[in-house]
Symmetry: C2
Subunit: 209 residues, 2 copies
């Protein structure tokens, strides 16, 4: 799961570990608590697998390119209040800037599609990076998830009907089922939207116009 997140972030530009973690916390609430103890080993694993490359950037670097592209719009708001005290985010110390490789891109699309998204967190993560998939792969992701949820809805509903459950347990089961149902209709909307916009717009870029 971490691998998907890392590769997904690196698809959009090179980043160093600390920054990856910051984005994980800010952007994906899903992986809010990811720790360095799992992040750095994951980066090394991916590097050894040839999925990413690292460049050591020293304090006064050749400045080939800004290490963190920052996507133009820095999305003011929250980011600012943290960076307020120092006016410029100048380079602080040597860091390792990671860049995705072709192998990494291959691995990424493989991970994005492989093994039907078990839990909602994994699926949420995948969907969050779905712009990097082809339209058909994206549709497949959504439909596989939907099928999975329909199964789970049956289980949840019949579990909720169990007479032997007391108020509290039944409430949990019913709430569970409701949530799954809600998820399904959300997916239906997403799927409908996919079919409406077959290949017309590239809805992914926000700053290329």
């Amino acid at each position: 799961m971490l691998d998907i997140a890392i590769l997904g972030l690196l698809e959009e530009g090179e980043l160093h570990g600390y920054e990856i973690r910051r984005r994980l916390r800010a952007q994906l609430g899903i992986l809010a608590n990811v720790s360095f103890g799992s992040l750095y080993p994951a980066l090394n694993r991916l590097k050894n697998a040839g999925a990413i490359e690292a460049t050591e950037v020293r304090s006064s670097p050749p400045r080939e390119r800004p290490p963190a592209p920052l996507t133009g719009s820095i999305s003011g708001e929250r980011a600012v209040f943290k960076a307020r005290r120092r006016s410029l985010p100048k380079e602080r110390r040597s860091r390792k800037v990671y860049r995705i490789t072709d192998e990494g891109r291959r691995l990424f699309t493989e991970l994005m599609q492989g093994g039907d998204s078990e839990d909602s967190r994994t699926f949420g993560l995948r969907l969050a990076f779905a712009r990097h998939l082809t339209p058909s792969a994206r549709l497949g992701l959504l439909e596989r998830r939907r099928a999975r949820l329909v199964e789970r809805l049956n289980d949840a509903r019949s579990a909720a009907r169990d007479d032997s459950l007391d108020t509290y347990a039944r409430s949990v089961m019913e709430h569970n089922a409701d949530e799954v149902e809600h998820d399904i209709s959300w997916l239906d909307q997403l799927i409908a939207n996919e079919r409406l916009v077959p290949a017309t717009a590239t809805p992914t870029r926000h700053d290329d116009g």
Copy 2:
């Protein structure tokens, strides 16, 4: 988490490992995939900790009491198609029947309250066994969870406002936030209900009337 589930199930009667797993799958959709590889070690851990006691029951046992109460309704549907072929679940081979101890009950209430329920699965599990808590402990559980969710709602909402997100990522964030909101109003209902029924009814028993 497994420990809570085991102790919670044993609060209602003695069971053997295989049956515990069956119930985990059927009743709590939450722990549907728990495997023997984690269940049996967990049982031994709890036994060593003095939280549960084991009795070896042989094929033709003293029959002190039916080892698996089975709660009457087997919640038909899915369970049946598996158990169809043999008419009666008579004792098959020697099993270890586990019974909760006083220490186990103490541990159970401790686990039920300790560490504010991080994720929804842990909370769902706790709430499913909430009938074993005192009314005030139950209320505390609900209110701590609610407070936690309110925090998360703030994070989720501000994450969803992030301009730099594309359609898919934003959809995930918004859906996330909606779900948290839905959870909160569910909790509000549960809390209101707790306050309405201070100690009047014991809503827990289903088969004593």
